[in-house]
Subunit: 106 residues, 2 copies
Amino acid sequence: MKKAPCCTHKKTNKDLTHTIEFLKIISQEQRLKILCLLKNGEHCVCDIWQHLDMPQNLVSHHLKVLKDYGLITSRKDGTKVLYTIHEKAVTQHTHLLNHFLIPYGN
Amino acid sequence: MKKAPCCTHKKTNKDLTHTIEFLKIISQEQRLKILCLLKNGEHCVCDIWQHLDMPQNLVSHHLKVLKDYGLITSRKDGTKVLYTIHEKAVTQHTHLLNHFLIPYGN
DNA sequence: AGTATATATCAATATAGATTGATATAACTA
DNA sequence: TAGTTATATCAATCTATATTGATATATACT
């Protein structure tokens, strides 16, 4: 049986690990909603928790997860902290994902 | 604050639920490996568990999850069961995912 | 300085789901 | 029919992580 590249090559295996990490992070309703909200512009934490109707500390926690993995960035503005999607990083990860799902030439 | 479509519209909310289900299913190393293996051709269960070095019953279980969600199909061939990726379904789900992550016009 | 608002952190609990071991079913072969 | 191979199912356990409640920090305002 011919071995598939996704499971043999070291580089591809590393890519797989990264893709799984990425997927585990975004496969969570609250976090995907946050990303979707941020993809169209900068928002502070209070915007987010009021809009998504979830506790402030939980939003902060999810934002930390997203930021730690480089999917969003932040900047301070007075007492507020404004978050933005890191479009380039997200795009790179989705491209990597497609690599594992879509056959060559599609 | 202008509400983002991903969280307001009923249709989009339904899409979000489906996308989350899809992501939860593929955000699992063994399952993504299986999909990656199947994306380049049909394989029986014994191919898969031998190739991915995991117990047969676990492979069967993951295959069931993937099939129940329509990401793969199967056909019998004697004692063997051959599985294939359902390319169209996978592509549809990845498109839906991009909708939640990539800003309009990108 | 004292109060209010915005955000972050931490420990504890709850919960979903991956994995394992044992066993069942189904088809082919001698 | 008995034995062998391929696959599926079930119950039990293990593990990761989302959520909650309480609290800390940091900035702005009077």
